[in-house]
């Protein structure tokens, strides 16, 4: 899978074809591109090889020994040419010594047995060694349920221990970073975290000390694992040695419902899994997508979901500060909008809204003929890796629908001036706080009407004529276009609190209440997509289902950089072999 995406692999030149190599996997002859690691070739052939230290996005140190397989090379005749069988395939001379499949690159005529008695015996013995010093604290270990050691112990282990001696004691509950607790007794010394910090996060803070029976994973003296990508080490830890302080002891993983979605904290749109149980989100983990974020995501983004469970979430629509029904709030809003001349109304939309919502906002703008509308841009410096230089997740969606000015934010100053001098007396703030564009509380109070759609109370909801409580990113479905033109889906993991409603439904009801012609007003999400695909050329032929879990690359004319983010998808690092020549530039 990983070989398709990385920019480095494709960038070289389309004419240089990677030659295919014949290898035999469990008696079947197959072809794979040169340079494939044996473990990956076996995986593609449907033969899963258990492994701990190997990770497709990291180098192969080959230290866990779990992926041992039996390999063979072509038998050579007296003329130094391979002897062929009746079907023209080379005869195999099996190597009596097993080899690790993670650090073996495939070569012509290589043969492998992934499930022979010798291989099974190897796995069994490796499991027994790994479990010798491993504590039996699965009932309190957060990894239980998604632990490779548990899984492989069931599948390949012997189910009992012959070890009667005392287990080695190592430090437990070590606070090694802002978000991370380390339990050294559980560590199986796979070194994935060390390699992640060296190769991906590029901050070398983890290492082994006291080599031998007492090998201990630790941070270097005077250093801490405070990197903003540190929680990825928890994800790739095959056991419960590294645990997240935020998720620690909160919920067992087997209760979590995992919903595929995307991160909305910046323009990258990292692919995520939302782990929730009964309307509470417990954790967010990155989901592999080589077109966007590879296997990683920043800590600051994955931990930014607790606000959805806040007690003071907006739960009921309000008119003039009093709770009311949706019906009366919507009809009151449409009354205010239609009784004012469109030149006196401005819309402050949000590039944190989904494409669907922005499209419906655009329909409202067109229906009423509103001239002054824009989004609040959030330029930021980014970190050169997965935090994009744009704090809005859907700036491109706002541009595509035409809700944003060109460039986004260009109209904001005009809107503020117009509100100050009174030429605009009605404001729709859809998912943004108008105090952030420089309007004071007094200026908001002075407006004839202020309609605010949001999820949390702020200064503008206090001043608002009408408050419409909406959904957070995990409570609705929709799509967003990331900074590099990739259209990706959000999915609903939990239900919104109280009477809060899905944003697009609010806009739809408002459209109907404003007497929008029923032929061009979508009633269902599917109709909405049909209309969007017809009206927005880059979406032609698409529907919500076609976007897929990995997103869909759009060709937006204003984009300079299309495809994977500049740094996010590191090419798979070839195995460390002495004769390895294909170094990437």
């Amino acid at each position: 899978m990983s070989a398709i995406a990385p920019s480095a692999a494709l960038a070289s030149s389309p004419t240089t074809e990677i030659p295919l190599i014949n290898i035999q996997i469990d008696g079947q002859w197959m072809q794979f591109p040169k340079g494939t690691r044996l473990i990956e070739a076996c995986k593609k052939a449907g033969k899963f090889i258990p492994h701990y230290c190997y990770h497709p996005k990291l180098s192969s140190p080959g230290n866990c020994r779990m992926c041992l397989v039996e390999i063979g090379t072509p038998k050579l005749g007296p003329d130094r040419k391979p002897l062929l069988d009746s079907e023209g395939h080379p005869l195999i001379a099996w190597n009596p010594r097993p080899a690790i499949s993670c650090a073996t690159e495939i070569s012509e005529g290589l043969a492998v047995r992934t499930d022979s008695p010798l291989v099974r015996e190897c796995r069994n013995a490796v499991m027994e060694f790994l479990l010798i010093n491993h504590p039996l604290d699965c009932p309190i270990c957060d990894q239980a349920g998604e632990c490779r050691l548990q899984e492989f112990s069931v599948e390949f282990g012997k189910g009992e221990s012959r070890f009667l001696e005392e287990k080695v004691k190592k430090p437990k509950q070590v606070d090694i970073g802002r978000h991370i607790i380390l339990d050294d007794e559980r560590c199986i010394l796979c070194s994935r975290c060390i390699r992640f910090m060296q190769e991906i996060a590029k901050e070398d803070v983890l290492g082994f000390v006291k080599r031998g029976s007492y090998t201990t994973l630790t941070v270097y003296p005077g250093k801490r694992l405070d990197n903003n990508y540190s929680l990825n080490t928890v994800d790739i830890c095959p056991v419960g040695a590294l645990t997240s302080k935020d998720f620690r002891f909160k919920m067992r993983v087997w209760f979590l419902k995992e919903t595929k979605s995307i991160d909305v904290n910046c323009g990258t749109g990292c692919n995520i899994l939302i782990g929730s149980r009964e309307n509470t989100i417990y954790r967010i983990t990155p989901r592999e997508n080589d077109f966007v974020n590879s296997c990683w995501m920043p800590d600051s983004h994955r931990l930014n979901f607790h606000y959805l469970m806040r007690e003071d979430r907006l739960k009921s629509p309000k008119v003039n500060g009093l709770d009311t029904t949706w019906k009366s709030a919507i009809s009151e809003a449409s009354h205010l909008l239609s009784s004012h001349p469109s030149s006196k109304i401005a819309i402050l939309a949000s590039a944190r809204s989904t494409l669907e919502e922005l499209f419906l906002i655009k329909l409202i703008i067109e229906l009423l003929g509103i001239q002054q509308h824009d989004i609040l841009p959030r330029p930021q410096s980014g970190d050169g890796f997965l935090i994009a230089p744009d704090g809005n997740p859907n700036t491109n969606g706002a541009r595509l629908t035409g809700v944003a000015a060109n460039p986004p934010g260009a109209q904001l100053e005009k809107i503020v001036t117009a509100i100050r001098n009174g030429s605009v007396s009605g404001l729709l703030s859809l998912g943004e706080d108008p105090t952030k564009i420089g309007l004071t509380d007094q200026e908001l109070q002075k407006l004839n009407f202020l309609i605010v759609l949001d999820i949390l109370p702020n200064r503008s909801t206090a001043a608002a004529t009408i408050v419409l409580p909406a959904c957070g990113f995990a409570e609705k479905r929709g799509s967003m276009i990331n900074l590099y033109g990739r259209l990706q889906r959000l999915n609903k993991a939990i239900s919104p609190p109280g009477n809060a409603r899905d944003d697009w439904e609010i806009y739809r009801d408002l459209l109907f209440s404003l007497n929008s012609p029923s032929t061009t007003t979508p009633r269902t999400f599917e109709e909405l997509w049909k209309l969007m695909a017809a009206k927005l050329p880059p979406l032609a032929g698409l529907n919500f289902g076609k976007i897929g879990d990995l997103g869909f690359q759009l060709d937006l004319p204003w984009l300079e950089h299309k495809g994977p983010p500049p740094h996010s998808a590191p090419a798979p690092i070839p195995p460390k072999m002495p004769q390895n020549g294909n170094k990437s530039p």
């Binding site: 699965c138 009932p139 309190i140 005392e166 287990k167 620690r248 002891f249 909160k250 919920m251 209760f255």
Partner: protein, 176 residues
């Protein structure tokens, strides 16, 4: 191969039914007088009399949490009982044991442990699945309450029911 069964040939008395009915009535009347005259006892005068002392060892009453002879609450909030519970009667909120606790090395314990006794079906799977020997089905079977909330056993009530149990495996001792 179909099997042919011969119907039994009935006598005239059997075909009339009446003699059999009268025979049955006779038995009923005999039991009636036996009980009336106190010659025979079929029921127990609950609640003055109870089965409590005659319950078999395998009797499954209400689930309860136990402490061991060190006074340690044995539950570590692994939530396996919550997972296995067929009627979903169990709710657990875990918490970390503070570092000044003598059993801080166990790291985890239930902050809240609730068993809804309206839902509980006394199946005993929680006891079977518990890796820590912390939950047992005791002999208590009679629970009443004025509200649904009364019927939810919280952690305090569960430890009160369970009490102390000795002779259990100690895996959290020094050697571990």
């Amino acid at each position: 191969m179909a099997k042919v069964i011969q119907r039994p040939k009935l006598t005239l008395a059997e075909m009339l039914y009446l003699p059999a009915i009268l025979g049955g009535l006779l038995i009923t009347v005999r039991h009636f007088f036996d009980t009336l005259l106190g010659r025979k006892k079929v029921t127990m005068r609950y609640p003055e009399e109870r089965w409590d002392n005659h319950l078999p060892d395998y009797y499954r009453g209400a689930p309860a949490l136990v402490k061991d002879e060190h006074g340690r609450e044995r539950c570590v909030a692994c939530q396996l009982c919550e997972f296995i519970c067929p009627p979903r009667a169990i709710r657990i909120i875990p918490e970390e044991i503070p570092s000044n606790d003598p059993w801080a090395k166990v790291e985890k314990r239930p902050k809240e442990f609730e068993i809804n006794m309206i839902r509980c079906i006394y199946c005993g799977l929680c006891q079977e699945v518990c890796p820590e020997q912390a939950i047992f089905l005791k002999k208590d079977y009679s629970f009443v309450g004025y509200s649904r909330q009364d019927m939810i056993h919280n952690k305090e009530k569960l430890y009160e029911l369970g009490g102390t149990m000795t002779g259990l495996v100690h895996k959290w001792n020094e050697k571990k």
